[in-house]
Amino acid sequence: MKIRIIISALYALAAASCISQFTPEIVTQDRFLTVNGLITDENRRYEIKLTYSKPLDETSAEEPARGAIVTILDDTGNSWAFTEVKPGVYKSDSTQFRGTPGYTYTLRVQHKGSEYQSDPCLLRAAPPIDTVTHEILDREINASGVKKKVVRVAVSSHDPGSQTHYFRWTFEETWELHLPFNLLDYYTAVCWTSDKSHEILIANTEALKEDRITDFTLTEFDNSSDRGQYKYSMLVHQHSVSPEEYEFWDKVKKVSENTGGLYDVIPAAVPGNVKSTSDPSDLVLGYFSVSGVTSKRIFIRSPLLVPDLYHDKCVEEVVPRNAPIIGLGTEIWAINQIADEFGNLFWELTRNKACIDCAMFASNVKPDYWDEGFRQYK
């Protein structure tokens, strides 16, 4: 809600509001079975993840729910079993099962003697994505009029049959990164890194005359990351979700966007669509999603000038080039060769292997669509 921002503006007017960190004293140790699953009409192996939710004070990884029997049923009496491929991760057999628009699917989980079942979910076909566009905005960042370039990526779509109404998007972004050092010939200096969407991206057309989405913002990034430096690609998935699933995401979004403002909705539990068949008090979190999916990939070439993000983080020491360096190449690496005004050469050293080998934190394998995509793009 914009009102919240307005309120912060008013606080700023009083120049007195402040936000401080605060450690709540919460005593509960609740953990609940959590379902994370998605059935679509794409031809792939679908995945149902069963984990336990984490108590507030726990930082460890999620604990998987092992050994469950996971089955998908449709409304014509068919059923497909999923097999546990990793602890808590259950996958379908793509030769056996593929979601079909118009059918209704139900998830059944049997775990530790209890049975859980989802509400029946209708698979709705998604209309194709019309366009995924990007634009570069000049955004003011302070009072003296300093502006910063921001890349905004947006999606547009419409359903001529006016059947969709509830849209949800997810995306995977991949970009090329270069370690900006001149001694890395022997190491991996060019990599591709990926990320997933971390926000709930939903829109509905209830209030519109047409089932049309125009210029819905998927993400924005500026030069504080290297997304915009070389080549950037985004694969957008458009989901046609049910009104119930839309409502679930909408509530989660409202609750998670609370900023403590005056007009925040009072937070409330957002139940999912999977319930215990025997014990209503046995709470299951998460959501079993069923949706038609259409996808579109876009390519963006070097939209931003990105300052060197690595140099300060990596360079730990500067030594004359001819000095002996113990451990060079195993514990310490020379990443840059520089010269002073007299022509003396120096090495800049790092102890962090990620500074010489981006494969430590990204992939050194170029995605197979990469060159072809950018060739078509320009």
Binding site: I3, A16, S17, I19, D30, D57, T59, A143
Partner: protein
């Protein structure tokens, strides 16, 4: 509507002043001449007529020497020893009577005109200005008849002519007394005899009159204002008024008190001052709305100019929407609500507006941190009518434009409000008031989203005195509230959403003084409510926004009431009232029916019934019983007992922590039943050391029925089937309120402490309708301990200090219990509502007022007020929110005024 309003303002401003009739004086020397001779020369020299029955004056012989005397004084001197009385009419003509009249000997010399009225049984007295004046009503011969007669009159402020409410009129010989009502009117039944009448009111000098009461009559008193610029510390009522008052939970605060209190942004604020009263709380500073004895924010009826006010705040709650310059005082009824008031469950906040000065033109202007105001008032026809016009506006756009954040800099926030009020006497026994109020707020966020909201209230009130014992007030008013939110960032989606609520109200209220402390108030009211729940329109030709208008709601709310008050012996006063309220939800409209075996959801819809325009879709009626008792345990201690039931047919839909200007109003309908409240309250009032100190102790228990709560993620705007998102709830609240007050001396102070408990419970049958497993949970405004201390120290005649100290328990909040990862999204799961509390709230404020020259000859008087809000800069936590960072939940606390806020306000009265 707006045009009508402009015309009204023009009318109020029109100068209608007319010259006043002046009579001549009389000089002459006589020795033993017949009365006829004197009368003739008075008539010639003073240019007036003298009317009399020669049969009564035949024996009178006149001797005397007068220089520039008032004709009335001369005639009076001559006829009074002969058992005759004289009065003067508006032209200065003198009428001599024998059996009934009023003696007002020195009026001419006092240089004031007389206001008189004659009825069948009594002669209305003139305004009596003189301290200790002996007034004779009726003929001494009537004393022999014995029995009781009715004495009545108006008490006004001598400087401005405004009525004084709550002035006490005490009969010293009998130890009894009465209080003036809102119009400054009092009436008392006394045995014939001679009495000393003592008039007291806060802010005025005490005065007394000696009266020889042989017949019923009227004595109007103009009380002189105390010129000390330092106002009373915290004043809620005069001494006798509190002791004798029937309601245990009623507080009054006058504007001087409100103005002295330190404020956060330098604007005197009625709602923030109301929050200092015991039993009144809010969710946090800077939030709109207040909670009275456990009621929700929409359960308070705010009456301005006799009409309901739907949004009482500017700037999303940072300021009250009512300019403090137009207020005389505010009364808050939280228990023992008299039967004449209704329509809301928890409280009535009645704003008594200030009438314009009837004698001279005055005004004031002021500048604070965010706003400036100008007020002008004065007579239209001197003594008979007056106007008051006040305007206030903010210049915050200027401030916003200088802030560093670009999105804030491109934002605009503005508000203004205008009040105009016109009062005129009509004949001797009637008074007409025409009032209008308009307020506007708009906020533009980052050039493309605009919020705007407006309040418009207009009313005409007619007060008529049928007889000294029968007074009537007729009100015709309209209150209109609308807001709109428009967005034009993407042309395809350019659209506007609007909401409107409009109430036309007609009220007739009569007060009948039956004598011997018996009093009957009765009357009725009819309200036509119209609500446009939501209208959505495209605002660009390219916009694909589908226009949608949620069906307009119409409803008629009526009430008939009677309230009987009786003095049962010297110690006991009781009042019993009944208010029959009813509500008709009117068509056109559609009622959707649901399968009662399921929660109201799209899937359980079974049927829909269409109603034609004007047909009754649903009817509700409710008798509301109001009972009050006051028992004087000793002369200084009174015990008050109250019971009241209240009903509410209009509801504000809000599922946010604080109410927002973009919440929508909803009428009771087929699915949404009227909210009801039952309250029992008991109070003890102690008057200590001749009212140097007072203590009140009140306890209450309250049941709230048919409350409205919401399913998680409910959609409250643009929702035709709102009943699907609403769940029924109930509440109970109880508490004890303690107040200790020092009323006199240079140091005045008030200590309030409230201990209370508010619990709500969802009463739905289905799982989606159940909150916290259906058990009681604390409301968001439940603050068990609430303490406030206000001190006002009169340092010198030019300097005063005020300080507030506020402590309360932190409000309940909902914390998360667990979280999980969902495909890259981190989802926090909250559990039961309001199971944790924020840290305690503590605040200390300080303010200093410096008054300009006190000399009366100065043309204007200036006042500086410097205040420090939150002196210690304590970061009181307003709310908390949670984020997942590095795989761990982090809590963040937000405080609104997290440091000391200094403000300076300058004000000049002229």
């Amino acid at each position: 509507m707006r045009n009508a309003f402009l015309i009204l303002i023009l009318l109020l401003l029109a100068p209608l002043t007319r010259a006043q009739v002046k009579t001549g004086t009389f000089s002459g020397r006589y020795s033993g001449v017949p009365f006829d001779t004197l009368a003739l020369s008075v008539e010639r020299k003073a240019g007036i007529r003298v009317f009399y029955n020669p049969a009564w004056t035949g024996d009178i012989r006149v001797s005397g020497n007068w220089e520039n005397a008032s004709p009335l004084g001369v005639i009076d001197r001559v006829v009074s020893p002969n058992g005759l009385f004289c009065i003067e009419d508006e032209e200065g003509n003198i009428i001599i009577t024998r059996n009934f009249t009023v003696r007002r000997s020195f009026m001419r010399e006092a240089g004031d005109s007389a206001v008189m009225a004659m009825t069948d049984t009594v002669v209305t007295a003139a305004e009596s200005l003189l301290e200790g004046e002996v007034i004779t009503l009726g003929n001494p011969a009537d004393l022999r008849q014995g029995g009781k007669v009715v004495l009545s009159g108006f008490v006004t402020n001598s400087a401005t002519g405004e009525p004084i409410q709550g002035a006490s009129v005490q009969v010293r010989e009998l130890g009894t007394g009465v209080m003036t009502n809102q119009e400054g009117y009092y009436v008392i039944t006394l045995p014939r005899g001679s009495y000393r009448l003592e008039y007291r009111s806060l802010g005025s000098h005490d005065t007394f009159r000696s009266v020889n009461l042989y017949a019923g009559g009227r004595i109007n008193i103009a009380m002189e204002e105390r010129i000390i610029p330092i106002r009373e510390a915290i004043v809620t009522a005069s001494r006798r008024e509190k002791l004798d008052r029937l309601e245990s939970g009623m507080s009054r605060m006058n504007i001087q008190t409100i103005r002295l209190s330190p404020s956060s942004l330098g604007e005197a604020d009625i709602i923030k001052s109301v929050l200092l009263m015991p039993g009144v709380k809010s969710v946090g500073e800077g939030s709109a709305g207040f909670n009275v004895r456990g009621g929700s924010s929409d359960q308070n009826l705010i009456l301005l100019y006799g009409a309901p006010m739907y949004n009482s705040s500017h700037f999303f709650g940072f300021f009250s929407a009512v300019n403090s310059e137009i207020i005389s005082d505010v009364s808050l009824y939280k228990g023992g609500i008299p039967a004449q008031y209704g329509g809301r469950v928890s409280s009535i906040l009645e704003i008594t507006e200030k009438d314009g000065n009837r004698k001279e033109f005055t005004g004031n202007a002021g500048v604070s941190m965010v706003a400036a105001h100008l007020t002008l008032e004065g007579p239209v026809k001197k003594e008979h009518s007056s106007f008051l016009v006040a305007a206030r506006g903010t210049y915050s756009n200027w401030v916003l434009g200088r802030l560093p954040d670009a999105s804030v800099r491109n934002s605009r926030a503005g508000f203004y409000d205008i009040n105009s009020h016109f009062v005129t006497d009509i004949g001797k026994n009637s008074l007409l008031e025409l009032s209008a109020y308009y307020s506007h707020d708009d906020f533009r966020f980052n050039r493309d989203t605009v919020y705007a909201y407006d309040n418009l209230i207009a009313s005409a009130r007619f007060r008529h005195t049928f007889s000294p014992s029968l007074l009537a007030l007729f009100t015709l008013g309209n209150s209109h509230y609308r807001y709109s939110v428009s967005n034009s960032r993407i042309e395809d989606y350019a659209g506007r959403m609007e909401h409107m609520v409009n109430t036309t109200t007609a009220v007739a209220g009569l007060t009948w003084y039956l004598g011997s402390g018996h009093e009957l108030k009765f009357g009725g009211e009819a309200n036509l409510h119209l609500i446009d729940p939501g209208t959505r329109t495209p605002i660009s030709p390219l916009s694909v926004i589908r226009p949608l208008r949620i069906d307009r709601e119409a409803g008629v709310e009526t009430a008939l009431y009677a309230d009987y008050k009786a003095d049962l012996g010297a110690r006991l006063t009781a009042r019993a009232g009944l208010r029959l309220s009813s509500f008709l939800a009117l068509g056109p409209g559609t009622v959707y029916r649901y399968n009662p075996l399921f929660s109201k959801e799209p899937g359980s819809l079974t049927d829909s019934v269409k109603y034609r325009a004007g047909s009754v879709m649903k009817a509700y009626a409710s008798p509301e019983v109001r009972l009050s008792l006051n028992y004087l345990l000793t002369t200084d201690i009174s015990l008050k007992l109250n019971y009241n039931r209240t009903c509410q047919y209009l509801h504000l839909l809000s599922n946010t922590t604080a109410i927002s200007p973009t919440d929508t109003w909803k009428m009771s309908d087929y699915h949404i039943r009227p909210q009801k409240g039952d309250q029992v309250a008991a109070g003890l009032f102690f008057d200590i050391a001749g009212n140097k100190y007072e203590i009140s102790l009140d306890g209450y228990y309250k049941w709230l029925h048919n409350l409205i709560d919401y399913k998680g993620g409910a959609r409250l705007t643009m929702n035709q089937l709102i009943e699907q998102d609403i769940i029924p709830a109930e509440g109970r609240s109880y508490g004890v309120e303690f107040m200790l007050k020092k009323n006199v001396g240079k140091l005045k102070s008030t200590l309030n402490y409230t201990w209370s408990n508010v619990r709500l419970r969802s009463t739905g049958k289905f799982s989606s309708e159940i909150i916290n497993g259906g058990s009681f949970y604390p409301a968001s405004y439940d603050r068990p301990h609430d303490l406030s201390l206000q001190v006002n120290w009169l340092w010198s005649r030019r300097l005063s200090w005020s300080t507030n100290l506020v402590y309360s328990t932190g409000r309940p909040v909902t914390y998360p219990v667990t979280w999980y990862n969902h495909d890259g999204l981190q989802v926090i799961y909250y559990s039961d509502r309001n199971q944790y509390r924020l840290p305690d709230y503590i605040r200390w404020d300080l303010s200093m007022s410096i008054y300009g020259s006190l000399k009366a000859s100065r043309l204007f008087r200036s006042t500086w007020n410097i205040s420090l809000y939150n002196v210690t800069g304590r970061e009181n936590v307003y709310s908390v929110f949670f984020r997942i960072e590095n795989g761990k939940i982090r809590g963040y606390a937000l405080s609104v005024f997290g440091r000391t806020i200094p403000t300076v306000t300058y004000r000049v009265d002229f």
